[in-house]
Symmetry: C2
Subunit: 218 residues, 2 copies
DNA sequence: GAGAAACGCGAGCGGTCGCTCGTGTTTACC
DNA sequence: GGTAAACACGAGCGACCGCTCGCGTTTCTC
């Protein structure tokens, strides 16, 4: 048996120690990847193009990522974490707001984040990718949907689990669809689609969650 | 100047006469392309795979299509035409129905068609394609959206043109999003998402178009 | 300051892709 | 039956892709 270093109990054998320079390179590469993915999509994006955009040789890229898929996975994880953590979006306080304000409180930061990081939607929507990227991808998708489902459960505990899942899926799909329109336009048009999206979500959710503030307990 | 055959007035130089065998091959190839596009997406689909699926050599494929892009364009056009023509969906009679029935009348055939031809949604959503495929693609996208916009205009003539466009875009995006969920599930789950989609569309459109039958004229 | 490890480079390998081309077969038309 | 065009084949070309490898440079550690 290969018993490795003390604090490496399992079979993982990659205790690569990163220098500050390396962390900086990783960030450069992820930024470049976001840009290229956003421009061309995952499949059409080439690792050489990512390296070039980062001002780095292909060999250097592979010092930090084992393959192309790992780049997208890491980028997706970081964006996902940033979106869910930095803004306190799915909070209990928000869940208690009247529906219109709840939608504003949840959507506004999410929309702002996605406008600043358009690669996130690209990854969320990239469906034609080979390998197990799709599985990793689905996991992140679910991590968001779980929050929505949870929020719906708090607002309307009477809802059956199935219905709750369907509502969360539909609401999330609706959000992604609206987000695509929003990112596809600028200025006043963009604002108009933000309003349309909120209108659509309100129209869909009001009958299910009620328009008021506190959870619908008599 | 090269003056070609009598009934070929312009500069087009492709008077290829097709035999019945050729037309059959074209249909085989388009069917195969639909299957492969649906499985892998446009970018990842290989022309060799399409030819193989059609039981044909790569050379034969290129007897009928100048390049990969032309396959997707022709397939998209045929599906688009079939969907808009075969079912009388966006008819004046439908436009006069009460909103719930209008949604049923429009959505049910569209959903059925898309379940039978899942490649259509794949092409509608394929955003990461190079070349001018995207332009051809946008044209078809618009051809559907125009119908929706027209229908909205009939139902509510008071709506400003901008608002009408935004509403049509949002409704179409909402439909595509729901369609993705629907095609991603089967049996009872699929039926549940059909209901969710209709609920969402109703909630979005009711405030804009009214719930009644005739256009909202006092 | 010496050794090790992390970092960096870029030519190029193996493989797949879109597509071609030389050649042979089938069909339409006289 | 003869001939021209349409149809069919499949090996393989050139381009690009993800990724590697040998080797030089910088940084950390003692």
């Amino acid at each position: 048996m290969t018993e490795s270093k003390a604090d490496q109990p399992h079979e993982t054998v990659k205790p690569r120690r990163r220098q500050a320079r390396g962390e900086r390179r990783i960030q450069q590469l992820l930024d470049a990847a976001a840009s290229v993915f956003c421009r061309a999509g995952y499949t059409s994006a080439s690792t050489n193009a990512i390296a070039r955009e980062a001002g780095v040789s292909p060999g250097t890229l592979y010092q930090f990522f084992p393959n192309k898929e790992a780049i997208a996975v890491e980028l997706g994880e970081r964006l996902n974490r940033r979106m869910l953590e930095t803004h306190g979006v799915f909070t209990p306080e928000n869940a208690a707001l009247p529906l219109r304000e709840l939608i504003d409180a949840v959507l506004d930061p999410m929309i702002e984040f996605n406008c600043a990081n358009p690669a996130f939607l690209t990854l969320l929507q990239s469906s034609e990718a080979p390998g197990n990227f799709l599985e990793e991808h689905a996991a992140q998708h679910d991590s968001i949907q779980d929050r929505i489902e949870e929020l719906i459960g708090v607002r309307n505990p009477e809802l059956s689990p199935e219905r709750r899942t369907h509502t969360a899926s539909m609401a999330f799909a609706l959000f992604k669809a609206g987000l695509g329109l929003i990112l596809g336009h600028e200025g006043a048009e963009r604002e108009a689609y933000v309003t349309e999206l909120k209108t659509a979500l309100y129209g869909y959710l009001a009958p299910v969650l009620g328009t008021g503030g506190a959870p619908a307990r008599p």
